[in-house]
Symmetry: C2
Subunit: 531 residues, 2 copies
């Protein structure tokens, strides 16, 4: 096997091809300057030759050398996940705790061989999918020896069952590669997290990721028929079933295990025919309060729109060209089988009855197959901002930004939001200038929304990480105090561990520890996450 050079970027999501140029960064600096009312300038992009790393502390046995890397670029690239502050540190050339070895299995046999070696030697073992974790889920722990296992070599769709609409897929496949392999037969998994271009099926399962359905099957959990996972104690594979009530679900132990119980290598997942019929609209509301109540009533009618994203006035302005006063609701239905105009009309009537105004250019009902049909202007702007994020653009500007997300029942939502805004607002005021905090409902359930907050502002160049830490700590504490979950779909990782401990039942954690000790008796897998 020819060894291709590692192309993973050291400072932005994706590969070196995704890295912005100096010119793009200069333009971004100008935009930030205008946004914050202060002159910021972009330092030049770093040269990859300048990486200085701790020397590897592990000798790879001869038999595994062909599937292991120990070069500086590989170890640096896989020492970070996808959090903006990690990537900023990568931009600065700071790689404090790189793995000693980056293993790249090509199949299950290789995964077995590597894991056996790690278990025998007691190496801390970090499963690595696309590396888009924003919660330090793939960041190496504080251990004497660290092996990061990159699952990207297991990237094939192995089987498509057109009758049941399901597919057996290797866990290391990225979103686009997965869709490319389903497309020839007219299928799609249609699981589109914001990290879609880089993240993997195994990562989605391990972290209970959220896709792009705003209602209904939001989490990857809803797509899973069965899972296959290699633990230090052996293989664990569940029976492929459309449903079961035979005791606690084995798959529900794998879902959310975040690399601590085993390496997920395969899953049977539910797929579908590509949508043909689409119906969309956008609506404006005079306030977030009125809009949130409308979303609640719409979702409680159980029409299950594919999109139902509500942007508060600040978010609507930043991400979709809004006027800064109105909240924006993006509504969409889609189906591979039946026209969706009727559902959209029902929701439009509800919106108008509940105080919203439908944007005149936004209503589109189509039956053209495939491709993203044209959106209204607001929805199109929002889509671009959603998929076009490039964290590399703003490194070194002193600009501090992050997101946090949760879920809360409808009855508690207004007080919850007030609490978050007060606590996080204070932290922002004390650390940044020209800051803002915005919110959207990323998902909505019958019994509550999953709010997604974004904050940003200008801090001190070189001090961004410390400033971010203050705000992040305030946000996590506020979410837990006010009754939310520390994460709806980003995961727990090392960053949310305290919040997870605060929200989850102590005896459940004790039980999970008992499982951990049984499946991973050496405690090698992803130390620092959960355990």
């Amino acid at each position: 096997m020819t060894r291709e050079p590692i192309r993973k970027s050291l400072w932005t999501w994706g590969t070196t091809e995704n890295e912005p140029t100096d010119e793009q960064r200069r333009q971004a600096a100008e935009a930030v300057s205008a946004m914050v009312g202060a002159e910021v300038t972009a330092p030049p992009v770093p040269s990859p030759d300048s990486i200085e790393l701790r020397a590897p502390r592990v000798v790879v046995p001869e038999r595994l050398r062909s599937i292991c890397r120990t070069d500086n670029h590989s170890r640096a690239a896989y020492s970070i996940g996808g959090h903006p502050m990690e990537l900023l540190q990568g931009f600065r050339g700071e790689f404090a705790n790189p793995p000693d070895v980056v293993a790249q299995p090509r199949g299950e046999d290789d995964v077995e061989r590597i894991l056996e070696w790690c278990a025998d030697e007691g190496h801390a073992t970090v499963p690595y999918g696309g590396g888009t974790s924003v919660v330090h889920g793939v960041t190496p722990p504080d251990s004497d020896s660290i092996v990061t296992i990159v699952m990207g070599g297991l990237n094939r769709v192995l089987e498509i069952d057109e009758t049941s609409r399901a597919a057996r897929i290797q866990a290391g496949v990225s979103g686009p590669d997965l869709e490319d392999q389903l497309r020839p037969s007219g299928h799609t998994m249609r699981f589109f997290p914001q990290s879609f271009p880089w993240s993997t099926l195994g990562g989605w399962i391990a972290t209970r990721a959220g896709g792009h359905y705003a209602t209904g099957p939001t989490h990857i959990d809803d797509f899973i028929e069965s899972t296959r996972m290699l633990t230090p104690s052996g293989w664990m594979e569940s029976r492929r079933l459309p449903g079961s009530g035979a005791g606690p679900s084995p798959d529900r132990l794998v879902l959310g295990s975040e690399g601590t119980l085993g390496l997920i290598t395969e899953a049977w997942v539910r797929i579908q025919k590509r949508p043909v019929f689409r119906a969309k609209a956008s609506a404006e509301f005079d306030s977030m309060e009125i809009a949130a109540d409308a979303v609640r009533r719409i979702v409680q009618t159980k029409l299950w729109p594919s999109n139902l994203r509500l942007l508060d006035p600040v978010e609507a302005q930043k991400a979709a060209g809004g006027d800064g006063v109105h909240a924006l609701l993006i509504i969409a239905f889609e189906s591979s089988e039946v026209p969706q105009g009727h559902n959209l009309r029902t929701v439009i009537e509800m919106v108008e009855r509940l105080g919203g105004t439908i944007a005149s250019d936004s209503v589109k009902v189509t039956d053209e197959s495939d491709a993203i049909s044209e959106d209204g202007a607001a929805a199109a702007a929002w889509r671009k901002s959603f998929t076009g994020v490039n964290v590399g653009l703003i490194h070194g500007l002193g600009f501090v930004t992050d997101t946090f997300e949760t879920a809360i029942t409808w009855d508690r939502w207004p007080d919850f939001d007030a609490h978050i805004r007060a606590k996080v607002g204070r932290a922002l005021d004390s650390t940044l200038t020209a800051s803002w905090l915005s919110c959207r409902f990323a998902y909505s359930y019958l019994d509550g929304p999953a709010p997604y907050y974004t904050f940003a502002g200008l801090g001190t160049t070189g001090g961004e990480v410390e400033q971010w830490q203050i705000i992040k700590a305030a946000a996590s504490q506020a979410v837990i105090e006010a009754g939310g979950t520390i994460t709806h779909h980003h995961g727990v990782g090392r960053l949310h561990r305290e919040g997870w401990e605060a929200q989850s039942p102590e005896l459940f954690r004790a039980g999970l520890t008992a499982v951990k000790n049984r499946l991973d008796p050496g405690g090698i897998l992803n130390p620092g996450v959960f355990f």
Copy 2:
């Protein structure tokens, strides 16, 4: 507290009021005689004075006497679940292994006091909801001392959150009591298993019960916001959330735990406004094959009908007055918010395109609030047969009947069904005369149906249990061999343990055992189920 006499029947579902009379049993015997072409006669209903039981082997401490019973009737009544063969044995006065004590807590404090005593003394402890288990889930184990804890005293709806459409409910409440408490505010949980009149919320959660939605939120799992459970190691209570991705779900450990990890005392569940808009129809198909394919295509359109039950020709004849040749599909939509005629028309068009014939009297579209609106003749007949089951009618006739249920992906369904019919058919032929085997799709998923089989026939009076065992063993083996799940919603209990072991990953069972040892270190809870 005044102690009411135990009214639980010793030989049929529910209370002594639900017991059929001699005259009703005589009529049932006539009907069975006609059905099997042989004269069978009904022995008289037993007298409850004649119970002979093993003496209690446990002395209840003074402090617990007011909430414990040791009389023969109580111990006999709670020594059996809801399986027809258990009830037949109850009818015969055979109570081989009664609990020594029947505890009846009035609230969580009592549950704590009783469980503490059981843990201290090492009594095998069997949590008991409505006692409708058909899988020996509440049948006492082979232990030196047995305490059955009947949860019916915890029967209140504690809180209703109208905004989030959720309620906090004590686990011992029965279906009708739960609905009675929700009705004044215009709400319903709308969770209607066949055992609804007697089974409890806690029992539904413990067994991952199936409700009456044929698509969409089929299992109780989908209704749960949070759970509260007392284990021998203390309380375990999850945070109330509409959704979360923070590690493996604590509730998913409680769901399906079948009384082996703790006693569920409370849950927050999703409720809804009572449906106002309804739309229904029935369709006939020339064969089960054509009908099954139509159901697959209908469910894959994701219109989420509340009912979509497919009866094979035998079942349609026995339960809904069919001609014995055609398969019957019952279709229904309902909503508290929006009219459902449009959805029904879409499905009717699909049915006609896919080879079905809509019964002319069956199409009803209504917007009347509350109450069960009128059905077409076939659907009404089926509803009556579903909710009107009274196993006490046929005891002692030599009539052997039971059901078994599973789930299987669509691609495997035809071969699966052929395998079941061959294997179970052989067992029926070897044990019963005038037997039949019928099937309905109780639930349908995007990726497969949950088939529900019923068998019946004439065996030997006095030999029914042994004959049933032969058929049941053949059915369980066939289900597992052909790739199904040993249970979709009846539970594992003691009856399905072997099948559960065959279908579930060995390492998952090892992990679950580790959890068991942590939460119930004395192993007192429901021994024989799972562990």
